[in-house]
Symmetry: C2
Subunit: 555 residues, 2 copies
């Protein structure tokens, strides 16, 4: 049987988040594998209440752990690296990343007590990692975090370029600029497959450079009267520097608030990426500085409840608070789903008399992803035989595939869990694997279909009624049934106390119930459940979740 090259996304293809892509090469069913990225998604109240993190379901990989040659992490955003320390113990393959990314990964390994030496720091191309049949180089790409990289993956079947997250920034302020000549050179060497970021495929205009922001940000800070507070993603080191420079240029001291913010700046400094960040003051010192001479740079641009932005919107945080005449800047975009939280915060600041500036006008933020014309430029420079759209919801992948096909490049819509044979000149569907999402819930992992989260959602929507009942040795009720409610109105439409109405109806039922019912736990449970839901429907117009506990006294 001849060898084949396969591609299998396990996360990130059909969603924006929890990226995890697999490449394989070898005889069918015995391919040697490499994994690109192990990221997380973030939970929301609507679909995943109480969940801490969402991980890709990598059961397929775990069953084939002995065939994994290596794990490559393209960059240190949580949707690419966040699951590494949670899932690595099930894979135990060597991990490769560039300096900054490796440093962040090592911190995560330290926190979980995992061996640091599993992570190897790699220089960008031409340094090459040999991983079974794969020869892999890190290709610097501009994005919104230092050292983001694509991967050049050479295989016996030809070259794959895995774009990672990228934009085409000729002047990213921190890190390597986009150089079309380099990309054209890689293209000239022959690219078989381009697996490519699809996030901004619907954005019709060319992306803007990080270097377009300093003038506007500087002007904003120059015109501010009170304290200035700015938030952006902690990992956007270039932006942090631009903001800090704007502060210093206008006679303001800089104070970083939020653990992630300090950690990122420290890591970027230690790895030599950030050489000229202004000196900062500690929060306790900042409180002593006149507000017109101070700028805070803080975490929580997405409205995260416990981050600095949300804390400041609720009042004092680490001795600092905002007031009338201050300025709060969101140098960020609100990720869909976070609008309500961000809006609440903006209004809380408005109530304090703080001027809130966001990126509505496009002056204070640029995206880290390639827009539609940028994608077209990359397609043209690399001239791959086929394009595998990744890093996008289904509609993004579909649009990106169309864009490729419009140029005459073979494509497909390779969603999570689909295996593609990419040995030939076009992607060929080669099967499906079971995949999905796993929830990190507290300290344990819960399957998306275990029913645990479904039950939480049901309790949240319907409330919960508990009924306890004691049955004596003769199968007769001992005392009366007892009902407790949680998350339901105390009184019904008629003014009756809900628990009393439930208990009254249950008593009547028990008085009528025959020995066969009273002697059968399942029958009893069913009947009680039905009565509770019926009484609640009549009294309060809702059918709650019901838990029945029948205790039987034994002789």
């Amino acid at each position: 049987m001849s060898d084949r090259l396969i591609y299998l996304p396990l996360g990130g293809a059909g969603e924006i988040g929890m990226n995890c892509y697999v490449y394989g090469y070898g005889p069918t069913g015995r391919e040697r594998l490499i994994v690109v990225d192990l990221g997380v998604s973030f939970p929301d109240m609507e679909t995943t209440p109480g969940v801490d993190l969402i991980l890709p379901d990598i059961s397929w990989l775990i069953e084939r752990a002995d065939r994994i040659e290596a794990i490559f992490i393209t960059h240190a955003h949580e949707d690419h690296i966040g699951a590494l320390a949670h899932l690595w113990p099930r894979l135990k393959a060597p991990v490769y990343a560039r300096r900054f990314t490796a440093r962040i990964g090592t911190m995560k390994f330290d926190e979980q007590g995992l061996p640091r030496d599993a992570i190897t720091t790699v220089a960008p191309r031409p340094e090459t990692i040999e991983a079974g049949p794969f020869r892999v180089q890190f290709l610097p790409m501009s994005h919104s975090i230092p050292e983001s990289s694509g991967l050049i993956i050479d295989t016996p079947a030809g070259r794959v370029v895995h774009s990672g997250d990228f934009k085409l920034d000729p002047d990213p302020l921190v890190g390597e600029p986009f150089d079309p000549a380099v990309m054209a050179q890689i293209g000239a060497e022959g690219v078989k497959v381009l697996a490519c970021d699809s996030t901004n495929v619907f954005s019709p205009l060319p992306g803007r450079s990080e270097s377009s922001l300093p003038p506007a940000l500087n002007e904003l800070v120059a015109n501010a009267r009170g304290m200035v507070v700015a938030t952006t993603f902690a990992s956007n080191i270039a932006r942090l520097r631009t903001l800090a420079n704007a502060a210093v240029a206008n006679g303001r001291s800089v104070c970083l608030l939020g653990r992630a913010m300090r950690r990122m700046v420290q890591t970027a400094t230690e790895t030599g990426i950030l050489r000229d960040f202004p000196s900062t003051v500690a929060p306790e010192d900042a409180a002593q500085i006149p507000r017109e001479n101070l700028m805070l740079i803080v975490t929580g641009s997405q409205g995260e409840r416990r981050a600095a932005t949300a804390q400041l919107s609720r009042g004092k945080y680490l001795g600092l608070s905002l007031k009338d005449g201050d300025l709060f800047l969101f140098s960020s975009k609100t990720i869909p789903g976070n609008e309500s939280s961000v809006n609440r915060i903006m209004n809380a600041f408005s109530e304090m008399g703080v001027d809130v500036v966001d990126d509505a006008g496009g002056r204070y933020h640029v995206s880290g992803h390639a827009n539609r014309p940028d994608l077209e430029q990359v397609h043209g420079l690399l001239r791959p035989q086929m394009i595998l759209p990744m890093h996008g919801e289904h509609r993004h992948l579909r649009e990106h595939a169309r864009l490729a096909e419009a140029r005459g490049i073979a494509s497909a819509i390779p969603v999570n869990g689909t295996i593609w044979d990419i040995t030939g000149t076009a992607p060929v569907s080669a099967g499906h694997v079971e995949t999905g999402r796993v929830y990190l819930d507290g300290s344990v992992q819960v399957g998306a279909f275990d029913g645990v989260i479904r039950d939480r959602i049901r309790m949240a929507l319907n409330g919960h009624v508990l009924v306890t009942l004691i049955i004596d040795e003769e199968d007769e009720p001992l005392g009366e049934p007892w009902a407790e409610v949680m998350g339901l109105a105390e009184r019904g439409r008629t003014g009756a106390v809900l628990t009393e109405a439930v208990e009254g109806e249950l008593e009547q039922f028990l008085n009528r119930a025959d020995a066969r019912t009273l002697g059968d736990d399942d029958k009893l449970d069913d009947a009680i459940r039905r009565i509770v839901r019926q009484v609640c429907m009549e009294e309060i117009g809702k059918k709650p979740e019901v838990t029945v506990v029948v205790s039987r006294l034994m002789e």
Copy 2:
């Protein structure tokens, strides 16, 4: 004591939704009152899981029901009329509205078994309703629903113009066009107070006319190959007509899906507002029509789970389904907070091979609210002494107040629950009243601070553990404690079954417990609760909600 004119928003000022505004005139504390609008807000999973509707807390009004002269409803959007039938029984004042609005209100009254004759249909100005010291006229305004109106409220202290929701549309396709001469005339008669819609104060460009849409919509439909499905707000009668006309012009039959859609078209037709809507086909007949000759106009533009759009995204609905080559158009804007639901639907359509078109480019939808330059135009035409910004979140009200003050017009930020004396030349703060939100939950009303919804959110975040325990006549445990969990992982970190771990720890506690603890329900409850939370923290890293039921056998 001299008479005064007061303004008190009870809903809609500090939020977009549940509009309810009160004006009063008379001696302090004995003012005669009129109410403008009784609207609802819609719940979300994050803050109000399981709730059906959010109503303004009108306790202040209920206590003063004998002083209410009348209730005026400006238009039939749910955030202005949705609470009418739920709250009217507590107020029982006569209701005035224009024809279309009154018809919608009457349907709601019929559903709740309330007297139809409480609602009086009023013609627009110059028809005038005398309501105690108030003389009120309905002023036609263009918006996104028929017969939306402002109110001209003449009082002994001067004239108030209450804008209602409006835009300045010279050609709204359905209903009265904006006429600057009329507004200038009203201004020339002298306006003391303008209470004004603030929704789009941050939109920097002049609003666009509904009449700008037909060419683009027509072109879109003309180029479609398969079935076309379009969604918009059911109440946007002008848009429905534009969409239906585009269908007919391109040889397509029109089918309306969704109860609200059919009801609105029927009401608009019966009231004579809609005279030339194309004839429609029933869903069962639509299924027989070739897809290239069919257009569905459907409810659910905000991704509502049970509306037609969501149903179609899940598969067949009323015998109709979408497939490869069909077109789905969102002729609408996604309201903040609904992005995730709408995105899920777009991706589901994408998976079916359906082309999804939304308003990203601004071609297929226009807003129903006045933008910043439009507001400035109205300020200039009416030339009020003071402006009370309403219908907006705090940041909108604040920005609108600034806009007014920049023109030299007195203003304030009159949020829900603040009373303003507007007798003089500028608004003067005159106290606060208790206000807030009431939840319609099933068939009962629940206060926002009753703890009911808080408990639901806690169960959703933390899960729920129930412990039952029987204590015999001698205050000794009878049998073993029993634990049930809902919404928690079955097994802990160590692989132990969570309920067994909890029960084991509780048994040990009961073996150790002294008579004083076992005899005291509160002590027992506290101790059990603490142990359960501790075991769960160790096993699964979460502290759940706990309900303890101790049953005591009596002699």
